[in-house]
């Protein structure tokens, strides 16, 4: 597709399931980086453009977008099986299901140690504060949400230096517990650290980390899968065994951390929290133009209601937020001035709290060479005079401008536009057969045949 000069080694957790995809354009229209095209009746995702935000997953009417995960059986390769659970996992369940029951269910599933991801937020906070004091860039942007980091890398390259290079709680906790378990005498190769993820972006971040060499997390289990497993164990009566290994580092601060404003309330200076990738896009456009200044800190999250709205969350996001707020209030009532802090000595914030360089990898350049890029842009602007400009997406690109760009890059043909096709057939520049062939190459050959096996049609459930 585009950006041919960039390497293609970005790991993505979102993949199109070709057997299920009906090539319907829903995903293509919502993609914030124009990463999707329809070819031969199937959606294809460009690895260079995708930021793993999961908007396509949410928009797909036939569940054709897969989120990859590691096989649960993989955990049994390790004698010590740690599951790191984000607070939103517990937040999804009704209030009457106690956290301890969920812990027991996780033990039944096979984990030996259960820790909440946000147990180390005090270390993250310490690193954040140090970073703010040392760096003069403003606004500083939280590194919490991996989809946002990737969005900035590809769409806002001039803002990469504004990303706070601080390890987010999942990495901090993975390193902390790995060290803690090692210091208790367990050999490193016996420790498997697994993460229950609420979204695809975190999977991509673990499988191909940005700003660090290797993640301390061994594997990833999707939260919706785990949620169903936990429910199954909760419904079944099982004999209470010994409680799993855990610790009591969780704080009200940690419980709220992954929700909108969870980080913001602990920041100094003028700070804003923005959730939802469209909102973030709009805001970063203005930040890049320096339209808004004197902002010290930005908490940006790709999902509406932050991690409570993650694509792998089974519960309702608003109820999840409610439960977590209640849970935090219960914790707060019990907390004294001496808040629980991760034990010193296992992990040094100075040594392990910070990320390395985060580079820009801008998308959308028409050419490396400016004079060629200028020529391509002139051609694109000329093409736009002929394209209808109402972004129907019937050409297999999300909008007319993207089609025009694909055409100048040699990745599409102008006759992919059904309106221009009409014009061209009328002027005998294109035969009926040629037009049908083009339509087939975008939408698949069987597309125009009768098929009652679709939503709203006679046999929709077959």
């Amino acid at each position: 597709m585009q950006d041919k000069n960039q390497n293609r080694d970005f790991h993505h957790a979102l993949n199109v399931h070709n057997d299920l995809c009906i090539g319907c354009t829903h995903c293509m229209s919502v993609c914030p980086t124009q990463a999707i095209r329809i070819r031969n009746g199937k959606a294809i995702i460009s690895a260079n453009r995708c930021v793993d935000c999961g908007e396509c997953y949410k928009a797909c009417p036939v569940s054709a977008i897969d989120v990859e995960q590691d096989d649960l059986e993989m955990i049994f390769r390790f004698p010590v099986r740690v599951i790191l659970i984000p607070s939103v996992l517990i937040g999804q369940f009704p209030r009457k299901i106690m956290a301890t029951s969920i812990y027991s269910a996780l033990k039944e599933i096979g984990f030996t140690h259960i820790y909440e991801v946000e147990n180390t937020v005090d270390m993250v906070l310490e690193a954040n504060r140090k970073y703010m004091l040392e760096k003069k860039e403003r606004p500083l942007i939280s590194s919490y949400c991996p989809a946002i980091i990737r969005l900035i890398q590809v769409k806002y390259p001039s803002l990469v230096d504004n990303i706070m290079k601080v390890n987010p709680p999942i990495d901090m906790s993975a390193m902390y517990y790995r060290e803690k378990l090692k210091s208790s005498g367990i050999p490193e190769e016996q420790i498997g650290l697994f993460y229950a993820t609420p979204c695809a972006a975190k999977i991509a971040a673990i499988k191909s980390p940005v700003g660090e060499i290797e993640s301390a997390v061994t594997g990833v289990i999707n939260m919706n899968f785990l949620y169903n497993r936990i429910l199954k164990y909760l419904q079944r009566k099982y004999t209470e065994t010994e409680p799993p290994q855990t610790d009591d580092l969780l704080s009200s601060k940690g419980i709220l951390w992954s929700l909108t404003r969870g980080e913001l309330v602990h920041s100094n200076g003028r700070a804003l929290a923005i959730d939802g990738i469209k909102n973030v896009n709009e805001f970063l456009d203005n930040i890049e133009n320096e339209k808004f200044d004197k902002i010290d800190f930005l908490e940006l999250r790709a999902c509406d209601e932050s991690c409570a709205g993650g694509i792998l969350i089974s519960g309702n996001r608003f109820l999840t937020v409610e439960r977590l707020k209640n849970r935090a209030a219960e914790y707060r009532a019990r907390e004294d001035d001496q808040s629980r802090k991760p034990a010193e000595g296992f992990l040094s914030v100075n040594e392990h709290g910070f990320l390395g360089n985060i580079g820009a990898r801008p998308i959308g350049k028409l050419d490396e060479d400016i004079s060629t890029a200028l020529k391509k842009m002139e051609r694109k602007r000329r093409l736009m005079c002929y394209l209808p400009g109402f972004d129907c997406a019937a050409c297999g690109a999300p909008d007319c401008q993207t089609l025009a760009e694909d055409v100048v890059q040699g990745d599409a043909h102008i006759s992919n536009c059904i309106f221009l096709q009409q014009q061209m057939t009328k002027q005998n520049l294109l035969s009926q057969e040629q037009a049908m062939r083009i339509t087939g190459s975008i939408w698949g050959k069987e597309r125009l045949e009768k098929n009652c096996n679709k939503l709203g049609a006679e046999d929709e459930n077959n």
């Binding site: 133009n289 339209k291 350049k365 060479d369 400016i370 200028l374 842009m377």
Partner: protein
């Protein structure tokens, strides 16, 4: 390659749209973001000036392999003392404009800072022309 945009005076909601669209163009042309950032900031300031002070204006952008030239021509009150207007903090913006977060008196000096060459001419009572020039290769200045 040329771009031409009309701007309406007083329409603050749209102030910055031209700068945003130029930003996208410069990115597609693979212009280094440290270079394009200055151009976009200078243009944004110029755009806001037209919106805040003038009745209407036209922005013309010309891009070639070496440089980006921007002409901002407005119909408006003009600038009586250009030297004074160039000083940081000097502003003739009304209190309403200031309440909206504009008119801090940094516009022209910011434009000068973010351009390689800037020319201003004005006829009081008629309007102002600002010419901005930025070289595309940072070492060509």
């Amino acid at each position: 390659m040329q771009f031409r945009h009309k701007i309406a005076g007083g329409d603050f909601a749209k102030a910055g749209n031209v700068a945003s669209s130029l930003k996208k163009v410069l990115r597609q042309l693979n212009i280094d973001h440290t270079v394009s950032k200055r151009i976009v900031i200078a243009l944004y300031e110029g755009e806001v000036n037209v919106v805040a002070h003038a009745y209407s204006g036209v922005i013309e952008v010309e891009i070639d392999e070496e440089k980006v030239k921007i002409n901002i021509t407005d119909k408006g009150p003009g600038i009586i003392d250009i030297e004074k207007a160039m000083k940081e903090g000097y502003s003739t913006a009304t209190s309403q404009v200031r309440e909206m977060g504009f008119g801090a008196g940094m516009g022209l000096s910011n434009m000068k800072k973010n351009s390689d060459l800037m020319k201003i001419s004005s006829v009081p009572g008629e309007g102002t022309i600002v010419e901005l020039l930025n070289y595309i290769r940072p070492d060509a200045r």
